[in-house]
Structure formats: structure tokens, C-alpha cells
Symmetry: C2
Subunit: 350 residues, 2 copies
């Protein structure tokens, strides 16, 4: 792919401290990804002021003035009707083919609603899903859905498995990703009906994936699977439980060290060990939840992300665009009919 | 209550390294709880051999020979028919009124199935639940259901809230526990239908609880609520995600220190800080998942728990028995009709 082809559309007004942090994030991302150009949507005056600090970045940015912006408290039903927001216009650029992915740190519900409306789901995908790259003990894994769909049927879960499989290949570089369904037990009869049904679907010989069965949440951090599939409610609960626990332990360690003079004296000894942990566990390095299953890629940066975090979200988007993620999912689905596989299992059972 | 009245029935054959660890756990528990007597069920010869090491404990134990034991791979449907196992007989002692609680480190599914069959649910409780005491940043909280019921309706969730409320009062000593429903967002319309319905029920003026609304999983470790209510699938996912993350971070810290000579040199400085963390976060101190909602208390110790862990499970059981936990739940439910509250909300909505 030629180096001028990779265009990413950016909502400069989303997240805390925008557009400053967003523009700083683009500057960082541009250094690491010299093949990207940006379409930047936002308050022209404010964005230009920030861009002035980065002459090299300015050259690869096309600035579009958006008179309005989506606020955190805005409801999805309102924002989909307002074509004047930076978020709407940034997503619309992908619909029009001017960019291949959009990144925003704004309101998640709004980003999902507008993306779904404008980009539409890939043919044969019923439900788009939110997916993130996460760290485990020995590497990385992807987990989906992280909250786009509160309730899912077996076909939805199987679609997530197909998309997760492509994502793990593209984003993690794993040739044959191990796919698992998140469940509360290892035995085949455990959990909910839709999970058991999805398990039978994923074992079908028509599926070209390496399905390893159920995975329990406490096994996830130890690299048993590369792709963790769950409905959006369960995935969101798992994700936020992981985040909360990590935050709890961090704060308890800080607190314990703070309360001990001896421990404070020992801190310099811990410098390299702490750096090693932060290198793999730093939440900034896992910023950028991807909204997949649409005709175009929509990436959500954390609202509180700093420039490094935002640049990681841009980097994720760029990586998937380079590898033709959307087209690959379309291809994969051309050869399988998940509805048919699902029906066959019903006939087998009854 | 007189000090000879507190009798706890013990399945000596459950868990790894039984009956050795179980008997060691009883010895520890007896030191901390001088008011307990034990009915011990198991292989008489093996148990007696272990008891010989603890003359003081032997005096307060009544040993019953059970010719068989439940194995980890046994199915609940089988074990409920075998009256000769130590687990069955230990639970049956509670049914017969010989003991007020039973503790086992054996097969969880078997313990639940036999307990449910023999002890039966409290009148007006539809579904018993598994509940644990967990550590948060500033104290402790209880969470239920942790896996007894994969799918729950609003009435079930409201029952869990009532039981959790009593438990937080009795086990945590909190006068007016704050109750929250686990959900993936804070807004009223978030999550699943049964959660939204339960939320309306818990806000009803007929409920004598302090319901604070939804709590998201990442807020749980920071003490926002004293009682976290969820269906058994969600609660189990949250619990195991917390456990897995804590284990991951522990192993990464160990690994990072192991790989750095400097950090190893700094370890002595960290002794007191590490001790402080371990004092609040040590999983042994939170052993003993309680199966509540039955006419009698059934407590599951972790299969891999050591003597200290087993003694904590015994201590939990004793504490709830002392405070008449089962009777209090019965009393609480006498004054409210959850089915009626649930119906009223349906009428309001439609």
C-alpha cells in the first residue's frame, strides 16, 4: 500500500483536555507511523492553535471546521441527528471513503450510534462489537464484546469469534489464534444456553478457527487463549473488574510504601523492576477500543487518555487499516453461513 | 447464647490434603472461638490419627464414621443419592438440628445440591445464593450471588439484596449497609431488563434497605457499596476476574523482582509494606463462601485452602450462627412480599 493512502479521520474535540491532547497524540503517532495522513475535525481556531506547535504534523493534516461537538452527557438519539459535530463529520469522512478509520476520545455511546448509522454493519454481521487488546502474563490477547451488545445469541457470539480471530491474526500477529468462550466452568454443560449453543457452532467443521472451548475469567490473564468471546454485558463486567482490581492493587502498594519510611528508602532498588512491569501493564499502551463489524473502522480512545494513549489508539487503527481488516472479515464470512450452522445444531439436538 | 450451643458440623474429607488440613484448621478455629464444638464426619481411622495431634481439640469434637466421601469429579445428581458420604452426613446433622452450620472443602456442586435438598430454602426465598466477604480499599464488602444461579429474575435479585443486607450487618458489623446492583453503567436505563426491574423494586418504600443504585465493577474495590448484588453468572465472572488479575499482578511483581538483582537487594526494605498489603489482601483471610437462603448455614471452604484458610471459613460460620443469621432472614422476609412489589412495578410500567 502506498504511503499516501493511509488516511485516518480524527475527532479533535473528544475527551478531556481536547483538542490539546488529541493533537499531541497525533504528533506522537505521526512520528511512529510515517505513512499516515490525518483529516482533523474540530473547532478550527482551537485546533489550529494547537497544530502550530507541530509544523511537521501540520503538513500531513487536513483541518475541517466543525461548528459543534458531542458532549459526554449527550444521548445517542440526539447526536445521530446533528451533522455539525466534529464526531459526526469525522465518522462521515470514513463513510465517504475519504478516510479508512476514525478515532475519537468522545462519548462512547454517541460514537457507537453514529458509526453504526453511517458505516453500517458488514453484510452477514448482525451486531458490531467492541474489542480491545489486553496484556496477559506471556503476551497479549483480544477480548470482545466489551459492551456494545448487552444480550447476545449464539450466532452473535460466533460472529465475534470470527472477527476476533481475524483481529488476533492482524493485530497480534498470531498465525492460528486460540479462540475461547468466556464461561463460569469448563464442562460442556456449564453456563447459559447461548454459550453452550455457540460452543457447538464453533466446533463445527465448517468453521476455520482453532476453538479451544470455555475459558474461566481467572484463566484469562495466563495466556490460555488469544481471543476471548463474551456477550457485551459479561465482557464489560470482566474488563471493568480487571481494571478495578489493578487500580486497587496499585493504590494499596503506593499506600503501603507511603506509610513506611523503610519502603521509601528501598524504592530506588525497585526502579528497574517497576519499569519492567509498567512496560507490559501500563494501561496507556492498551488504549483504543475498536468498534468492529462495520464497513470502516471506528476506534474509541479513553476519554482521560494522554497524548501517548491517544497515539496508541491511532496506531491500532493504522495497523488494522494496513492489513485490510474490514475486507478480510468480509472475505472470511463469504465462505461460512453462521445461521445455517446454528440451525443444524438445533436439528441435531431436537 | 450459651457457649455449648454453638455446634458446627464438619466434612473432614473434602479438599486437598484432607483430613489433615481440615483438622489443623479446626484446631486453629477452636483457639480463636472457644465457644464452638464440632461434629466431625469422615474416615474414622484417618481422622482419629490427625486428631491425636491435638488433645484439646479432641475434647470438643464428636467423631462420626462416614464410610464414603464425595470426589471432585462426582456429579450432584449422584451424590444426593448417597447417604454414606461424609459430606452428606455432615449436612444431614444440620437438618436434624444437631449442628447449626456445616463446613466442607469438598466439591462445590455437590455441597450445594445436598444442602438444598436436605436443608430446603427458607420460606419466601426462591433461590439460595453463594456469598463471600471480600476486601476493598477501605474495608470489606459482601457480594452475591457468586455462582449458584446462572440466570436470575428481578425477585431473585431482590432476595439476594435482603440476604446481603442482613449478612453485611452481621458479618461486617455495618449498621446500615449500602446495597448496590452490579451493572455496566450508572444510568437507570442501563443493563438488562431484570436488573432495571430489581432496581425499581429495591427503591420501593416497602424495602427497609439503603439501596444506592447501580455500581460498576471497577468501582467495587473502592468501597462505594457494602453489598454487591448480581446474578450468579455475572457475580462469578466478576469474582474470578478479580482473582485472576490479583494473581497476574502478584506473579508479575515476583517475576520482575526475580529478574533484577537490584530489586532483590531492595526486598528487605519492602518487608513491612508487603506485610501491610498481605494483611488486608491475603486470600486466605477471605476463605469460606457461604451458601445462604437455606434453613441452616452451609459454608464452602476453598479446596486448596490451608489450615488458616479453613479456620477462617469455620470462623465465618460461627459468627453467623452466633448472630442468628438464618432466623433474622426469616424475620426480615416476614414483613415484605417481594412478589407483590415486583407486580406493582409491572402495573406502574404498563
Amino acid at each position: 500500500m502506498s504511503d499516501t493512502n493511509l488516511v485516518i479521520s480524527v475527532d479533535a474535540m473528544g475527551g478531556d483536555n481536547s483538542p490539546r491532547v488529541v493533537i499531541e497524540g497525533l504528533a506522537l503517532a505521526a512520528k511512529k507511523n510515517p505513512d499516515i495522513r490525518f483529516l482533523v475535525f474540530g473547532d478550527e481556531e482551537k485546533v489550529r492553535k494547537e497544530l502550530e506547535r507541530f509544523p511537521a504534523l501540520t503538513k500531513i493534516c487536513t483541518l475541517h471546521h466543525s461548528p459543534e461537538m458531542v458532549h459526554n452527557e449527550d444521548k445517542p438519539s440526539q447526536v445521530i441527528r446533528n451533522k455539525n459535530t466534529s464526531m459526526y463529520q469525522a465518522i462521515d469522512a470514513v463513510r465517504q471513503g475519504q478516510a479508512e478509520a476514525v478515532v475519537s476520545a468522545g462519548n462512547t455511546g454517541a460514537l457507537m450510534a453514529i458509526s453504526k448509522m453511517l458505516l453500517k454493519t458488514i453484510q452477514k454481521i448482525h451486531r458490531p462489537a467492541i474489542v480491545s487488546i489486553m496484556p496477559h502474563r506471556y503476551g497479549k490477547y483480544v477480548m470482545l464484546d466489551l459492551g456494545a451488545n448487552t444480550e447476545c445469541n449464539a450466532v452473535n457470539l460466533a460472529e465475534f469469534a470470527v472477527m476476533g480471530n481475524v483481529l488476533a491474526k492482524h493485530a497480534l500477529g498470531i498465525k492460528h489464534p486460540k479462540i475461547a468462550l468466556l464461561n463460569i466452568g469448563a464442562e460442556e454443560m456449564k453456563g447459559k444456553e447461548e454459550i453452550r449453543h455457540a460452543s457447538k457452532m464453533l466446533r463445527s467443521s465448517s468453521m476455520d478457527i482453532d476453538f479451544i472451548g470455555y475459558i474461566e475469567p481467572h484463566e484469562v490473564p495466563f495466556g490460555k487463549a488469544d481471543v476471548i468471546v463474551a456477550d457485551g454485558f459479561t465482557g464489560n463486567v470482566a474488563l471493568k473488574s480487571i481494571e478495578g482490581t489493578a487500580k486497587l492493587i496499585r493504590s494499596m502498594i503506593k499506600d503501603a510504601i507511603h506509610k513506611s519510611l523503610l519502603a521509601k528508602l528501598g524504592l530506588p532498588f525497585m526502579f528497574f523492576a517497576a519499569k519492567r512491569i509498567s512496560k507490559t501493564m501500563n494501561p496507556k499502551l492498551y488504549n483504543g477500543a475498536m468498534f468492529v463489524g462495520l464497513n470502516g473502522l471506528s476506534v474509541k480512545s479513553h476519554g482521560g487518555a494522554d497524548a501517548l494513549g491517544f497515539s496508541v489508539a491511532i496506531g491500532n487503527a493504522a495497523m488494522l487499516v494496513r492489513q485490510n481488516f474490514v475486507a478480510t472479515i468480509r472475505d472470511e464470512l463469504e465462505h461460512i453461513d453462521l445461521e445455517e450452522i446454528s440451525q443444524d445444531i438445533y436439528y441435531e439436538v431436537y
